[in-house]
């Protein structure tokens, strides 16, 4: 019987299989950052100083709590500084390569891996971060792990795991103008729910997915975790290969040919079966935004804030009431009437060059509304440099936005970039939980295009809502 993409990658990494035990799976790439790794390194140190088995398959970067201004000054927050210092010390002691603040390769771990060409089809990729699912865009099996597992991978380059189930998420047809990968994933999560993917690896397929760029595919796979799934994957194809070719760590010459030959064997066989399937008609999709306090509480921008009467059941009714209260909304009000204080563009979901281009395209010749603070935070130093080469920074600054250094920033507000209590944002990030962007902060998840249009009008808007830029 045929196998799915996920099953093929799994099978190719089984180090040991024994009845009644989990499979021991080999890990091709282990990404590390400052927040979830200190206790893992400390664990190695106290186990008779176990070495890191494969420092050459391990890479660290500083991203979660680093500042996005004055990055060459000592970090002001002592707790953050201690974590970053610990990462640097641990990497030096154990021989793990690390891209620190000030390095041209520093950035959000899930932006850095792909841009270096380290994330390739058919690999297993792990990181102590749930958004490791991002790397599935390349046809890699990539998932987040806990600190004990981080230590396990550092020591053994393997993990004992029980197989995941597989779910096909098929999006066929053409995406309408102005509809992006972010809108697709928000619609998927709204459809299957925040727990719908539990226990599954999602495989996104269909013509709409095939038509996405690698950046778009990464946005899609990134938020698989918000549907409860451990991982999301997309079959590698010519788009994948074209993205990889020539990148720093991509194979070259005969190695490239051998790799591509193998990568061609990975897509799901025609006779393979999935444990579950979801089908979405691309032509029905529109710009999507969240109104509530979990990523499943999303609706088309043209819709209105739900009323408790819209609830599926009693549990849902309580959830809607609580979310509306926390978000400070009125049931039934049009989503377009929601005014925001802050617009955040960035994160491992939407902090790549294509995302910044989409924002710049809309901001060109326009200005950010007086009532709005707009932060544009590139996902990596390389993304920042690329944007500056293209003059995007000038567009942002001329429009009145702030142009920052690379990092996770306001996505999770571990650094000084936070919402004040009661403040409301339109954010290209991935989680709209209560207090996620700062205690008492209110988050609406949006695409980069909607973020830019919202910054101009001051209320949730799509680019199509804007009046044309006057040409001189």
């Amino acid at each position: 019987m045929g196998r799915t993409l996920a099953e093929k990658v799994w099978d190719d990494h089984v180090v040991r299989r024994a009845t009644g035990e989990p499979d021991l799976l080999y890990i091709d790439l282990h990404l590390v950052h400052e927040v979830t790794s200190p206790q893992a390194f400390d664990g190695l140190r106290h186990a008779h100083h176990r070495p890191v088995r494969r420092t050459d398959l391990t890479l660290a970067t500083e991203d979660h709590n680093v500042p996005t201004i004055d990055i060459l000054q000592p970090i002001a927050d002592p707790v953050s500084k201690a974590q970053v210092d610990a990462l640097r010390h641990n990497c030096e002691e154990f021989g793990v390569p690390v891209y620190s603040l000030g390095s041209v390769d520093q950035g959000i771990v899930h932006v850095v891996g792909p841009q270096l060409g380290l994330t390739q089809p058919g690999m297993t990729v792990v990181c102590g971060d749930s958004h490791t699912s991002t790397h599935g865009a390349f046809g890699a099996l990539a998932f987040g792990i806990g600190t004990s597992e981080v230590e396990h991978v550092l020591a053994t380059q393997t993990l004992p795991l029980k197989p995941f189930k597989t779910m096909a998420v098929t999006v066929d047809g053409a995406l309408p103008e102005g509809v992006t990968a972010k809108d697709v994933i928000l619609a998927v999560i709204a459809k299957i729910g925040t727990g719908g993917g539990q226990g599954y690896v999602l495989e996104y397929r269909g013509s709409a997915i095939e038509g996405l760029s690698m950046e778009g595919r990464m946005t899609l796979c990134n938020m698989s975790i918000e549907a409860g799934a451990r991982a999301g994957m997309i079959a590698p194809d010519d788009t994948t290969f074209a993205y990889l070719k020539g990148r720093t760590h991509a194979p070259t010459g005969a190695d490239w040919d051998a790799a591509v030959e193998y990568w061609h064997t990975l897509p799901t066989d025609p006779d393979a079966t999935f444990d579950a399937e979801v089908v979405i008609d691309a032509s029905t999709l529109t710009p999507f935004v969240t109104w509530g306090t979990n990523p499943g509480q999303g609706l088309p921008l043209s819709a209105s804030v739900p009323t408790p009467d819209d609830a599926r059941d009693e549990v849902d009714r309580v959830a809607i009431e609580r979310a509306i209260e926390y978000m400070g909304l009125t049931p039934g009000m049009p989503l377009r009437d929601i005014t925001v204080d802050t617009v955040f563009v960035g994160s491992c979901t939407n902090g790549r060059i294509e995302d910044l281009r989409a924002v710049a395209e809309i901001l060109e010749g326009r200005t950010v509304a007086d009532s709005v603070r707009m932060l544009v935070v590139p996902g990596s130093v390389r993304v920042k440099q690329q944007a500056e080469e293209e003059g995007l920074d000038k567009v942002f600054l001329n429009a009145g936005a702030e142009w920052r250094e690379a990092g996770c920033s306001m996505c999770l507000a571990m650094n000084p970039d936070k919402l004040a209590p009661g403040e409301r944002s339109a954010s290209t990030s991935n989680r709209n939980f209560e207090g996620r962007q700062g205690p008492g902060g209110r988050t609406h998840l949006v695409s980069p295009a909607v973020a830019a249009a919202t910054a101009v009008t001051g209320h949730l808007s799509a680019p199509a809502d804007l009046s044309p830029v006057a040409t001189a």
Binding site: L24, Y26, D28, L57, L118, Q157, T158, A258
Partner: protein, 198 residues
């Protein structure tokens, strides 16, 4: 982890039931970046009381904690296990442990041995009569011995095996190091490494 076959040491009678993990280590100690060095947080609120049992000099250096029922309830924090170990405890005896605490302790190499409450009472009396009394916890025979007292204890078979082999999860995987090496030898040469390209 060190192999755990038999442990002998002096003991502390902790005459309290429902010792929750917030008492074992308060939340303010969880911000730390290490997995060790939590000994100052262990029972830190209770230790402010000079009369608390751990503050009594004749129990100094004890390695066996003899506690009342329902030890380790509440928060799942693994820091509770770390704090007990960092303070010097190798064994906790109780008539009932909270599930999560017991699971965490097995991972970290701290033995949570379950005995009948009457054994706990007998141990408390014996230790208080002679704080220098050696308590022996024999994992191979599943037996606790102190003076004339000999009692069986209960421990999960898998945890017992792992502790006796001195294996944590990583240790178990490292038993298959040969399999890992064989797998590594078969990996395609074009797979990427993170070695910085100069």
């Amino acid at each position: 982890m060190e192999k755990f076959i038999v442990h002998t040491g002096t003991a502390v009678p902790l005459r309290r039931s429902n010792v929750d993990t917030d008492q074992i280590i308060p939340a303010e100690y969880l911000k730390r970046i290490t997995r060790h060095g939590f000994e100052d947080g262990l029972f830190s609120a209770w230790r402010k009381d000079p009369a608390f049992v751990l503050n009594q000099p004749h129990y100094e250096g004890a390695t066996v904690l003899v506690a009342g029922p329902d030890f380790g309830t509440g928060s799942s924090r693994e820091h509770a296990v770390w704090a007990l170990q960092d303070y010097g405890f190798a064994v906790v005896l109780s008539s009932r442990f909270a599930d999560i605490f017991r699971g965490n302790s097995g991972k970290g190499g701290l033995l949570s041995a379950q005995v009948d409450q009457e054994v706990i009472e007998a141990l408390w009396a014996a230790i208080e009569a002679d704080p220098s009394l050696d308590v022996t916890v024999d994992l191979e025979r599943r037996e606790v011995r102190a003076g004339d007292l000999v009692a069986e204890f209960d421990v999960d078979d898998y945890v017992r095996w792992r502790l006796m082999e001195g294996l944590d999860d990583i240790g178990i995987t490292l038993q298959h190091a040969d399999d890992i090496a064989v797998f590594e030898a078969s990996r395609p040469s074009w797979k990427p490494t993170t070695t910085p390209v100069i």
